[in-house]
């Protein structure tokens, strides 16, 4: 048998590394050669985290080659899409039907990347044999601890791997926090039983594009005393003090019309008005 490849993907803090340790341990206990590879450092801090596990009679590369993972297990929807290229044609995709929208995609005006993708299994269904969109977080929560969602996902993953339950359970017992062993094993089995949910059943995050207006920022300089308060409250950094400590509008286009500057102007000097319509922000596609 050639080496099996599993890619686990999620967001820093979701327990991807722990889950991959469990899988590697379970494979080791099944007397397989195992290699597991992950990237530490910056990526762990709320960023995308991925771990590759390869096991079999012999394993050379610790990294799963593209289009060769037997299973891609994602703890979050956007991460499933990110690592799709690793999944073998007709491989199995296991996804927790939850969305973690990165802060960068949450600002209505100042996104620093691509917006959050719509949850739609149709976009990937044609390239995989099985799409298991499971409500792992919901299941974990119903079991009493939302943090066991990764065990639920691994339970679902186990349906596609040749590692027996005893090895899994021992591996889980070894790695999960003391006291949560039973709960995680229960979550694991719940994952084995979990049925696929339809994306339509997942509550919408309201990520539809928002029709943004543009705003005009008028400063009545004859009233303004250049106190410097408004630049500290403008969430979009539209206002600043220049080197002579005078108030200047530096980025009117970024104004979201929140009117904090108005509300916190002690001099009644700032007026925000709605400008030309129909500027669409970088919301969702």
């Amino acid at each position: 048998m050639s080496a099996r490849g599993v890619v686990l993907a999620g967001v820093g803090g979701q327990g991807v590394v722990l889950a991959s340790a469990v899988l590697a341990e379970a494979a080791l206990r099944s007397d397989f050669e195992v290699k597991q590879s992950e990237v530490h450092g910056m990526a762990q801090r709320g960023g995308a985290v991925v771990s590759h596990i390869r096991y079999g009679e012999t394993v050379a590369s610790p990294v799963v080659p593209l289009a060769s993972a037997d299973v891609l297990a994602a703890f979050e929807w956007a991460e499933a899409l990110r690592w799709m290229p690793y999944l073998a044609p007709r491989g199995a995709l296991v996804v927790d039907a939850r969305r973690i929208v990165p802060p960068g995609a949450c600002k209505d005006h100042r996104t620093w990347g691509v917006p959050y993708p719509a949850m739609d299994t149709a976009t990937v269904a044609h390239r995989v044999a099985d799409v298991l969109l499971i409500d792992a977080s919901g299941i974990a929560a119903s079991l009493g601890n939302p943090k066991t969602a990764n065990s639920v996902v691994m339970g679902a993953v186990s349906r596609f791997l040749d590692i027996d339950d005893v090895a899994w359970e021992k591996a889980i017992t070894r790695f999960v926090p003391p006291g949560t062993e039973e709960l995680n094993i229960a979550a694991f089995h719940a994952g084995q039983e979990a049925g696929s949910v339809r994306p339509e059943a997942i509550p919408d995050l309201g990520l539809d594009p928002i029709q943004q207006r543009s705003y005009r920022i008028e400063v009545d300089h004859s009233w303004c005393k250049d106190c410097g308060i408004c630049p500290t409250v403008c969430p979009e950094f539209c206002l600043a003090m220049d080197h002579a400590h005078r108030l200047v509008v530096v980025d009117e286009a970024a104004c979201i019309g929140c009117r904090l500057c108005e509300a916190l102007c002690p001099d009644f000097a700032i007026r925000i008005s709605v400008g030309d319509p129909a500027v669409v922000s970088g919301g969702a596609p």
Partner: protein, 593 residues
């Protein structure tokens, strides 16, 4: 169903753990390091063995100094660092090559091809050539342990420090490692030998020929260490380290010469291998180190024409190269990845670095940054860092930036406590000495957070967890002559903003120390979380400017903007967003009895 028993004589270890295990089995006595991804866990793993005096040093140079001293004292000694750390240690390293060793001296350096968490992807093999020091290069965890043990023996046999080069894919790859017992090696004791250990020019001149002669013997040894595999002679691959695994993965039958020691390069051994194959190809990450050596030696070899010089290799890139060489199947067409959201790393919820940067952004400054978690402040939404070069560089650069007169805004250097002690102190002395008009913000979170929370001389704890004298950073600043010194709680938005504003206004070198423990280490901070009262939220999203990952959108819209919510599981209760929220929509979660 049968119960499989796990054998006690093997374990699933990361490369770093395997190296530590190897050093322990080799009987190492003293180990010193400065944390740096991807090398950090090595010393932490070694610290679990009581037989070893493992310690954090203030920086890599000090770590190598310590290790060299231990070695000359006759003990087996080990130092670990990331690739850029060797730049810091280079001064000692270069001359250590001349003096040789007492007990075995191994310097583990972890490269980061692909720059997963580094500011460059320099190739440490070049340092081996520069220092005329042998370099071993394992290709997986098991080999990492073996090479480490070997390195100590080589060190003592050839009277040389030995570089052990890892990469991210070795250090952070787990594989099965057979476990052996520790071999106790007696400490030989220091043997006075000024001609060998005191590198006055006269003595040093005598050592250089010795080193060159040593190198010749080592090259021969390297040849013996190389392993030949495979039957397909259409192409002969010369490789080392993790690329070997990729070649084996893609084309298991090809003729391969896997080097264990990639410097000095066993040219003669390769020349013999070349005669057994149609075409000689080098598969190596980063620099064409071997390739150029082969060409210089008159061997026809290919390499970088087929494999990229930048970034890390992968099975797929190796396949692409071999396919181009006609010895492997091209990879199947891979459909484009669906478009997905970018997810850059973030500061942690409750990170005490958020507000200092938020404040600097508010006040406007040219910011020379440094290496640490806070480097994330270069990204949106804080986007407050203009330069980031190397450990401790921020302060000196700020001094230079101020001297240039090229910044029309105040010049601010930001640096973490660990980085400050690593490389910032001399620069601060320079700035004060030359009266640089600048502000240094020392982000003191009581740990080396970026690499996972290591102790340092300012934390009051050693690597072994014992209580230690802690550097008094404010007193240190005062001692070097800082007169405008502010110590603030970065959880106090107002105080932080004020202190930084005052420091910026000061003419001369001012220092602001923001003082709050990291939320992750050494203790995990988790207090009563805060929540958003939706009715009060006006969706200004000001809170999002902190870059706190616990703050996310909801589907509720206010005047065309989305309101926010706080992930209670992530929220540490730091209060920062509540302090910033103008409508007072963010309040502590009520505790229900």
């Amino acid at each position: 169903m049968t119960t499989l028993s796990i054998r006690a004589d093997r374990a699933l270890l990361s490369g770093n753990e395997a190296i530590a295990r190897g050093a322990w089995e080799a009987g190492v006595h003293v180990a010193a390091a400065y944390p740096g991804t991807p090398s950090t866990e090595t010393l932490q793993a070694l610290a679990r063995y009581d037989e070893v005096d493992s310690r954090w040093a203030t920086n890599e140079k000090v770590a190598v100094d310590v290790a060299l001293g231990a070695s000359l004292g006759g003990a087996r000694a080990f130092a670990a660092m990331k690739h850029v750390g060797l730049n810091v240690a280079a001064d000692t390293f270069m001359t250590a090559s001349y003096v040789g060793v007492g007990g075995g001296l191994v310097i583990m350096v972890a490269d980061d091809p692909g720059m997963h968490s580094s500011q460059n992807e320099q190739d440490t093999r070049l340092y081996a050539r520069l220092g005329l020091v042998p370099l071993l290069e394992p290709s997986d965890s098991a080999e990492a342990k073996d090479h480490t043990k070997l390195a100590f023996d080589v060190s003592e046999e050839f009277d040389t420090p030995v570089l052990l080069r890892s990469t991210t894919r070795i250090s952070h790859n787990r594989g099965i490692v057979p476990l052996e017992e520790r071999r106790e090696v007696p400490v030989r004791g220091f043997r006075r030998d000024p001609a060998k250990y005191v590198m006055l020019p006269a003595y040093a001149r005598g050592r250089h020929p010795v080193i060159l002669e040593r190198l010749e013997r080592l090259a021969e040894y390297a040849g013996e260490l190389a392993v030949e595999e495979g039957t397909d002679t259409r192409v002969g691959i010369v490789t080392a380290g993790v690329p070997y695994q990729y070649v084996k993965e893609v084309a298991p039958d090809l003729r391969i010469l896997k080097l264990g020691m990639s410097y000095p390069i066993p040219i003669e051994r390769i020349r013999r291998f070349a005669e057994t194959v149609d075409r000689l190809v080098v598969v190596e990450e980063l620099e064409p180190f071997l390739e150029e050596a082969l060409l210089a030696a008159g061997l026809e070899a290919d390499g970088k024409a087929f494999f990229p010089r930048t970034g890390e290799l992968s099975p797929d890139l190796v396949r692409d190269g071999l396919a181009a060489l006609g010895v492997a199947d091209p990879r199947p067409p891979i459909p484009d990845a669906p478009t997905t959201v970018t997810r850059p790393p973030l500061m942690c919820p409750g990170c005490p670095h958020m507000v200092p940067y938020w404040s600097i952004k508010r006040l406007g400054a040219t910011v020379t940054g440094d290496i640490g978690c806070y480097t994330l402040a270069a990204l949106e939404p804080l986007a407050t860092m203009d330069t980031c070069i190397s450990m401790g560089a921020s302060i000196g650069m700020a001094s230079g930036m101020a001297a240039s007169g090229g910044s029309d805004e105040p010049v601010v250097a930001t640096i973490g406590d660990s980085t400050f002690l690593h490389g910032g102190v001399p620069a601060l002395m320079e700035a004060v000495y030359n009266d640089a008009d600048m502000t240094v913000v020392i982000l003191d979170n009581g740990t080396t957070a970026m690499t996972g929370g290591q102790e340092h001389p300012g934390t009051g704890t050693t690597l072994a967890g014992e209580k230690a004298r802690a550097v008094d950073i404010p007193a240190l600043c005062t001692a070097v002559g800082v007169e405008d010194l502010h110590v603030v709680d970065p959880y106090d938005v107002s105080a932080t903003l004020r202190a930084i504003e005052q420091a910026m206004a000061y003419r001369g070198t001012s220092v602001v120390i923001t003082h709050r423990p990291c939320v992750e280490a050494p203790l995990r901070v988790k207090d009563r979380p805060f929540e958003v009262i939706p009715d009060n939220c006006t969706a200004c999203q000001l809170c999002m400017n902190l870059g706190c990952p616990a703050i996310v959108w909801t589907d509720e819209v206010f005047e065309g903007r989305r309101k926010v919510t706080i992930d209670a599981a992530m929220c540490t209760g730091c209060t920062l967003c509540a302090q910033l929220c103008p409508p007072r929509a963010i309040v502590p979660v009520e505790v229900h009895p």
